[in-house]
């Protein structure tokens, strides 16, 4: 009797937990569409948001979504073919996991999205690409920088620069700024982004002068890798891995007194890195898409919005520093609106047809697509993390 009662109680508890989770996500769904609520009665156009909200890239994905949500808050409606539509951001969590990405993509397809934005992280974008392709839905990648995302298909586009560009930029920066002769490169096994970027970096830097290592999924102990970089006598430590791993690497680097610069790509442009580096003797430089202060109107607007919305603030890591990925998410939303306007229809096939010709002048610069579907960009911003103030400081604009 007792047993059954207990079992029932536990089942009830479990259901209650599930209900709580379900309830809260429905609630935030309401928030997302909330901007459009004022103009009731309009038809709804769905823009799919295919982003990680948990897992390794959860923090970055959330910040990218923030940019889209702010843009949606700013411009909640769009005129398509003479008719005003409310824009609904349909957010699916791909959990930073290549094997879960297709089912998240399938959700967006089933929900009838006209166009999809995302993802943060190249692996999940590649994994889900065919799901969108088979359904004929165009996707605009926001910060997935691996070339394989757009190669060999006609439905995947992106508004950011690519790793074959970013890698050499960092290699040149290491040589010019730090006169580096030897580089230590660390990537995560099976991670398309970090492995790819490390390879492009090494190609430009000279493979003979690089020590390359990878760590398995689930690693927490980076002390050996930092020790390897030290004993190898490297001049720069290049590790474009997820921010979760980065925080641990930075901590180890500080512990072992690694004084050489830590270089990384766009992923590290996050307040997770700033918080990890605060007050420590580390030297961190990253390439990125946007530098805070680049567009004061956007900066002030999004800061005000983040500060007025506790959920948004929590998703931004508890402060109002603007991540470059947020700026990119913001631009991606407007690119999607441009495409919808130009297509004059919410039919994904029509949107796909016009997307290659869409241009937009965003906060991160002018956006246009080349014939593969990649953004035409030739310059990246290099930022340095000031560990005393925990702020990014602009260093240089770097080309190849």
């Amino acid at each position: 009797m007792m047993k059954k009662a207990l079992a029932l109680l536990l089942t009830g508890l479990l259901l209650a937990t599930l209900a709580a989770c379900g309830g809260s996500s429905a609630g935030s769904g309401g928030d997302r569409g909330g901007g459009g609520g004022s103009a009731a009665g309009n038809d709804v156009v769905r823009i799919g948001v295919f982003e990680p909200q948990s897992g390794d890239n959860g923090a970055g994905g959330k910040q990218e979504i923030l940019g889209m949500q702010y843009a949606n808050f700013e411009t909640p409606t769009v005129v398509i073919g003479g008719k005003t539509y409310n824009v609904f951001l349909d957010i699916a969590d791909n959990q930073s996991s290549n094997d879960k990405a297709p089912s998240a993509a399938q959700t967006l397809v089933s929900n009838g999205c006209s166009i999809v934005l995302g993802s943060y992280g190249s692996g999940v974008s590649i994994a889900a690409s065919s799901t969108f392709g088979d359904a004929g839905i165009p996707v605009v990648g926001v910060t997935c920088t691996n070339p394989a995302v757009t190669q060999g298909n006609s439905h995947y586009f992106r508004i950011c620069f690519l790793d074959p560009f970013q890698g050499p930029v960092l290699a040149h920066f290491a040589k010019e700024e730090y006169s580096a002769k030897k580089a230590y490169c660390l990537a995560k096994q099976g991670d398309d982004y970090s492995v790819g970027l490390c390879n492009y970096f090494m190609d430009a830097f000279g493979r003979d002068n690089c020590v390359y290592e990878t760590f398995p999924d689930g690693t927490s102990d980076y002390s050996s890798y930092v020790a390897n970089a030290k004993t190898a006598g490297a001049d720069v430590f290049f590790s474009p891995v997820s921010t979760e791993a980065a925080a641990l690497i930075i901590d180890q680097a500080a512990t072992q007194g690694l004084t050489i610069p830590l270089l990384a790509g766009d992923t590290w442009d996050s307040n997770v890195i700033l918080n990890a580096a605060e007050g420590k003797h580390v030297n961190i430089c990253v390439t990125t898409f946007y530098q805070e202060g680049g567009n004061p109107t956007f900066d002030n607007g999004i800061k005000q919005w983040i500060n007025g919305n506790s959920q948004a603030k929590a998703n931004n890591g508890g402060d109002d520093k603007i991540a470059a990925v947020s700026a990119m998410g913001y631009d991606a939303y407007y690119v999607a609106l441009e495409a919808l306007k130009k297509a004059g229809s919410t039919d994904p096939a029509k949107v796909l047809e016009v997307l290659p010709g869409v241009t937009y002048n965003g906060v991160s610069g002018a956006i246009a697509f080349d014939n593969i579907g990649d953004a035409v960009r030739d310059v990246a911003y290099v930022k340095w993390c000031n560990p005393d103030t925990a702020e990014w400081e602009f260093i240089a604009q770097q080309g190849i």
């Binding site: 047993k3 207990l6 079992a7 536990l10 479990l14 937990t17 709580a20 989770c21 909200q53 948990s54 897992g55 959860g58 923090a59 959330k62 096994q189 020590v211 390359y212 290592e213 990878t214 760590f215 398995p216 689930g218 690693t219 927490s220 102990d221 980076y222 002390s223 050996s224 890798y225 020790a227 390897n228 004993t231 190898a232 921010t243 979760e244 925080a247 641990l248 901590d251 500080a254 512990t255 072992q256 007194g257 997770v272 918080n275 990890a276 929590a314 998703n315 890591g317």
Partner: protein, 308 residues
Amino acid sequence: MGLFQIILPYLLAGVSVGGQYALMAIGYSMVYGILRLINFAHGDVFMVSGLIMVYMAQALPLYLSIPAVILLTVLLGFAVERAAYKPLRSAPRMSVMVSAIAVSYLLQNLALYITGGLNKNYPAIPWVSDSITVLGATTKRVTIITPFLMLALVAGLVVLIRHTKIGMAMRTVAKDFETSQLMGIKLDRVISFTFAIGSFLAATGSMLYFSNYPGVIPTAGGMPGLKAFVAAVFGGIGSIPGAVLGGLIIGVCESIIKGMDTVLVHLGLIRSPLELATFSDAFTFVLLIIILVFKPTGLFGEKTTDKV
């Protein structure tokens, strides 16, 4: 730089992470010894303990939050046993194992729900988290503390098991479940106590582990949990010295393999790195297979005699 100077940082890291695995492995081992159950939720109790610390440290000063974390983790271990394992005491062993897997996922998903999947920075414990230099290798003080604290705790545990009444009861229950009940031992109390000790060690291990690697994510218990379980099997599941030795061997091995390239290059055996670090986890498990081929019950495993 001498060979010793090069190997030392890896050894230090290995002994330290091995000590942390050992603390968890004891939890697996003791529960298995008494219940013949592999407590899959143990790694997640470890992770939750880390999360409790993250939130506690925001609200309370450290000298209060550390005991509070240990107490709450012990309570969690106790609650898990009472809610998920006790009702299944007479059920087939497989059902209890499934229940353990369910608890593991429940804890992970709860952590995901509470943290929103974001990395939580573990608070730095003053003195323990400071950098120090040992014979030319720079590391955190916790690296040095871990093996000693671990050995002290194990010594305490051995005294407890050998020389106290509850320890005697535990040994009796491990020998024979049913007969011990006939002898008047309160089975539930002994089992709860075992889970409490296991959780206490997991809480201590989690403090040491996350002080060294200060990022807590919902899956943070997964890999350390798996390695600790392997350590327990490696040393002979059910044996405490075995768990300790297993943990240390696995910790040192995986650390050395990560640095193998650098050492080999230094010795002049190879000219360019072979990227051996990639195989650090694979080596660990290959080692386990080899040991189990030659000693199926692990290093200190007891011979099982089937009672008819």
